[in-house]
């Protein structure tokens, strides 16, 4: 029994659709050239030397004590941050889903906490950490009178990363907890178990794979993070910063490539475990939609301590963010608390702020619609079409999620500075705005694709089939049916891509040329120099831009989005 005829007929039907074939070919070329190829070139660089193929480069870098230390440092931080973020995330999710806290204030607080990391540049918390707890920190110096507190190093990175990443865990755990059928727990309560016992014997086992999933996701984020270790790491180097220094300081391209391969290997391994083992498992144990409303915990001995704990944490996080604009309004942080507008003025008069904002803004503005459209096309192909290369497209666009920005940056340097495979082909790309736009696209593509895929899965396949049946070709179906139906996802993908692009730093800092001034790179520079006032001024303006973008998106979705018109709840 062979499916020869249907296979060949399907192929004929497929090739009868030139637009689709072209799209797929272009897509495959793009993914190969800008995701696979830069990674492949790193492998080539680190294994192939003048003496032939071998481990000589790896042997050399493993001899460097600072590299060995960077590996342990990175893993140590990643481990701690992963555990802490998953647990704090769980705490917040549990309190939101299980505990009765019908105060406006708490609801608002929770919303802000889940929103802040999305709109803020990655290293903002490092800045405020230094300003609150550093040598001139308000809390350490003025409240506690500690004059030599050292926030730089392991604890600085760990705390800042935990506060940055736990909201992601909070969102993940919330989704899982909401899907637990309350009757499971009520049954256990009925049999006389205490709340703590129910949590340990029913709830926790159900969400354990999900907790592991959250841990790994954070772990990957942590070891890929470049900006925070850069600003608050001090002499405590992680893999990302070591690679950066190896190429910008020591000009050791082969060494940096091999180091990047090591970092990529670690994240990839974690990613595979997370994606193919834990992610499936974390939802498999849960039945799907909860059958009815959960009885919220009202017992004061439970609600009061949990509420206080969460509030304190949340207020602390909010305070850290608020600290940034204040940092830009005082004359000299830590010494002279007279209000001033001089930092904001200097941004534009002295430090070419206008150009920086314009460059960042324009490049991100170019990248985001392309990213959003590409991710919707990829999701459409992955969810709705059948063709041979589908697995490849899906795998590579997800792979991009596991690639740390620093690794991608090194890959682009090695892969494009002398043209593709050092042939000079596409060499013109290197150092232009175009390559920055491409990096922005590649960095945001996986998030957009993921949201597009989940949006498309909810659409009955027969709706598109009916359009197809009435005579529309695949381009028409995509433009007149698919895209309008996932408009919300498209719009939010647009803004997410914009926000991610304008706040990106890890890959971009390796590729940017003096021709372009990017805000994030500026902030990083000033923060490193200790010019916190000006760094804060830049960061504040950046947060205002991103926050406005998100507000604008919510407004647009509210008035023009799909859900209001016809999606059945």
């Amino acid at each position: 029994m062979a499916k020869n005829q249907s296979a060949s007929l399907d192929r004929k039907k497929f090739f009868a659709d030139p637009i689709m074939v072209t799209t797929i070919v272009v897509l495959i070329a793009f993914l190969t050239l800008f995701i696979l190829y830069p990674l492949a070139i790193l492998l080539v660089d680190s294994f192939v030397t003048d003496q032939g193929i071998g481990f000589s480069v790896f042997r050399r870098i493993m001899k460097m004590s600072n590299f060995r230390r960077a590996i342990t440092n990175t893993l140590k931080v990643g481990f701690l941050v992963g555990i802490a973020s998953a647990l704090i995330g769980l705490l917040f999710a549990y309190v939101e889903v299980y505990v009765k806290l019908k105060t406006r204030f708490m609801e608002g607080l929770f919303k802000v906490v889940s929103m802040l990391p999305v709109v803020s540049p990655p290293f903002v918390l490092s800045l405020s950490m230094i300003m609150l707890f550093g040598k001139a920190g308000i809390i350490t110096r003025f409240l506690l009178h500690i004059y030599d507190n050292n926030v730089y190093g392991f604890w600085g990175i760990a705390i800042v990363q935990t506060l940055t990443f736990f909201p992601v865990c909070y969102m993940m755990m919330r989704g899982l907890l909401k899907n637990i059928d309350p009757s499971l727990e009520e049954a256990a309560r009925d049999m006389g178990a205490t709340r703590w016992k129910v949590f340990m014997t029913v709830t926790l086992p159900l969400i354990l794979p999900g907790l592991g999933n959250a841990f790994l996701v954070t772990f990957i984020e942590s070891i890929a993070d470049f900006a925070n270790p850069m600003i608050i790491g001090g002499s405590y180097d992680t893999l990302a910063t070591t690679i950066y220094l190896q190429i910008t300081g020591a000009y050791d391209k082969e060494g940096a490539s091999a180091m990047a391969v090591v970092l990529l290997g670690i994240t990839l391994l974690m990613f595979i475990v997370q994606k193919y083992y834990l992610e499936a498992k974390s939802t498999a144990t849960l039945s799907g939609k909860a059958s009815r409303q959960r009885m919220l915990i009202e017992d004061r001995s439970v609600t009061i301590p949990l509420t206080i704990l969460c509030s304190l944490l949340a207020i602390f996080v909010v305070m850290m963010y608020i600290c940034v604009p204040f940092g830009a309004m005082f004359k000299t942080w830590g010494y002279d608390f007279h209000l001033t507008t001089k930092w904001f003025k200097q941004v534009f008069t002295k430090y070419k702020g206008l150009k920086a904002f314009k460059d960042s803004f324009v490049l991100s503005l170019v990248a985001s619609p392309i990213t959003a459209l590409l991710s919707m096309i990829i999701s459409y192909l992955v969810v709705k079409r059948k063709f041979k290369a589908k697995g490849f497209i899906e795998a590579v666009s997800m792979l991009a999620m596991a690639v740390p920005g620093t690794v991608l940056g090194i890959g682009y340097i090695r892969g494009f500075s002398a043209g593709v495979f050092r042939t000079g082909f596409l060499q013109g790309l290197y150092g232009t705005g175009a390559i920055l736009v491409i990096v922005f696209i590649v960095r945001s593509l996986p998030t957009g694709t993921r949201s597009g895929i989940s949006a498309l899965r909810q659409i009955d396949k027969s709706i598109e089939e009916s359009a197809y049946d009435m005579g529309a070709d695949s381009l028409t179906v995509f433009m007149t049916v698919t895209l309008p139906l996932i408009k919300d996802s498209f719009l939010s993908g647009l803004v997410t891509a914009f926000v991610r692009s304008i706040t990106a730093i890890s890959a971009i800092i390796l590729l940017v040329t003096p021709q372009y001034l990017l805000i994030t790179v500026q902030i990083n520079e000033f923060a490193e120099k200790g010019a916190y006032g000006i760094a804060c001024a830049f960061a504040s303006i950046l947060i205002i831009i991103t926050y406005s973008a998100v507000l604008l998106m919510n407004l647009v979705i509210k008035y023009f989005g799909t859900s209001r018109n016809y999606r059945e709840e």
């Binding site: 029994m1 062979a2 499916k3 020869n4 005829q5 249907s6 007929l9 399907d10 004929k12 039907k13 009868a16 659709d17 009955d460 027969s462 709706i463 089939e465 009916s466 359009a467 197809y468 049946d469 009435m470 005579g471 529309a472 070709d473 028409t476 007149t480 049916v481 309008p484 139906l485 799909t562 018109n565 016809y566 999606r567 059945e568």
Partner: protein
């Protein structure tokens, strides 16, 4: 109104799927040949999973057959994509475009055919009148009842004047009453438009009510094809007899034969039957007896004992034992008849002409 009625011919069509669990290939449709005449209404009927939807989707072009060729109006269409085929499908879930209003839903296919605005407007207005939705052009699809959505789906397909209309269980999301009125409606519109229709359902009364021809499918194979009467009165197998309507099966050896008449031994009782040409003496015959073709009486062919007697209004429902066989009988209009109670002995009485022999 249709430009040209087109027939559909399936020649030795098979479709192979892979079982997602065992990874084994199996035939969802096997060696199916059908000849659907232009302008006729044909129903594919069968239990769940027998390959009805698969067959329909092959005609529409969403699936490609693994063996055989499909012809539409004489043209082979195997390699054509759905948008190039002169078919229009009405989906079970209606599949209306939720971001368009009714007018735009119905006009969608016409716009793709690059018709001018005036023509589109006239055609849409006419077709909405035909399905009884005039004046509702501006409504969004979620402001319609299930029956109205069904009509939009039908109008949207009809307005394209396709060679063939395909229906996949179009009424199964509606309540029982609406189902009955909608099926009459569909039949009326199909005849008015004179379009060839292939209709999938697993509801046998629906199939009987609207079809010129019924095709009974069993596990991917055509079990029988014929007019509703043929299939009901002359089923070719127990499966068909049981699937369409209710049937009692009584088995026994053929004792004697005289031309096309004969005598079969059922649990020790001799029963006269007709039309047994193909059987020889001693062969096991299966008598198919419809519950409404028999009554209970004090004298008749088969002695029996009543084990259930239930008044249903328009009929009395009996279950009786004939030897070891359970026989169901529906005795219509029981008002002035003798009612037998549980435990009574009686006879099953029927006209030999109403017994079909397998």
């Amino acid at each position: 109104m249709a430009k040209e009625k087109k027939g559909v011919r399936l020649e030795h069509i098979s479709k192979i799927y892979q079982d997602p669990k065992t990874k084994k290939n199996f035939y969802a449709v096997k060696d199916t040949s059908l000849d659907i005449e232009p302008g006729s209404f044909v129903t594919l009927l069968g239990p769940s999973g027998c390959g009805k939807t698969t067959t329909l989707r092959m005609i529409a072009g969403f699936e490609s057959p693994d063996e055989g060729e499909i012809y539409l109006g004489g043209e082979p269409i195997n390699a054509l994509t759905p948008n190039k085929r002169d078919t229009a499908m009405v989906f079970q879930s209606y599949a209306l475009l939720p971001h368009y209003n009714i007018f735009d839903n119905v006009a969608y296919g016409l716009k793709l055919r690059k018709m001018d605005k005036e023509t589109i407007k006239t055609k849409v207005t006419n077709i909405l009148k035909l399905v009884g939705l005039e004046g509702m052009e501006a409504r969004m699809t979620n402001q319609l009842s299930g029956g109205q959505q069904q009509r939009v789906a039908l109008a949207r397909a009809l307005v394209l004047e396709p060679g063939v209309l395909l229906f996949d269980e179009p009424l199964s999301n509606l309540d029982a009453k609406l189902r009955v009125s909608m099926r009459t409606e569909i039949r009326r519109i199909q005849q008015e438009a004179g379009i060839t229709a292939v209709y999938v359902t697993h509801d046998q009364s629906e199939a009987m009510a609207i079809s010129d021809k019924i095709i009974i499918m069993e596990k991917g194979i055509v079990a029988q094809m014929g007019s509703p009467q043929e299939i009901y009165y002359h089923p070719k197998s127990e499966f068909v007899a049981d699937f369409i309507g209710e049937a009692n099966f009584l088995k026994g050896p053929l004792k004697s034969k005289n031309g096309s008449d004969g005598v079969v031994d059922i649990s020790g009782t001799k029963v006269d039957v007709k039309e047994i040409k193909n059987f020889g003496i001693g062969d096991t015959c299966t008598l198919v007896l419809r519950p409404e073709s028999a009554v209970l009486a004090d004298a008749g062919q088969l002695p029996c004992r009543v084990i259930l007697s239930c008044f249903m209004g328009s009929y009395q429902n009996y279950h009786v034992m004939v030897g070891d066989n359970l026989v169901k009988i529906t005795d219509f209009n029981p008002k002035n008849k003798k009612i037998y109670n549980v435990g009574d002995n009686a006879y099953v009485k029927f006209d030999p002409a109403n017994v079909h022999v397998l």
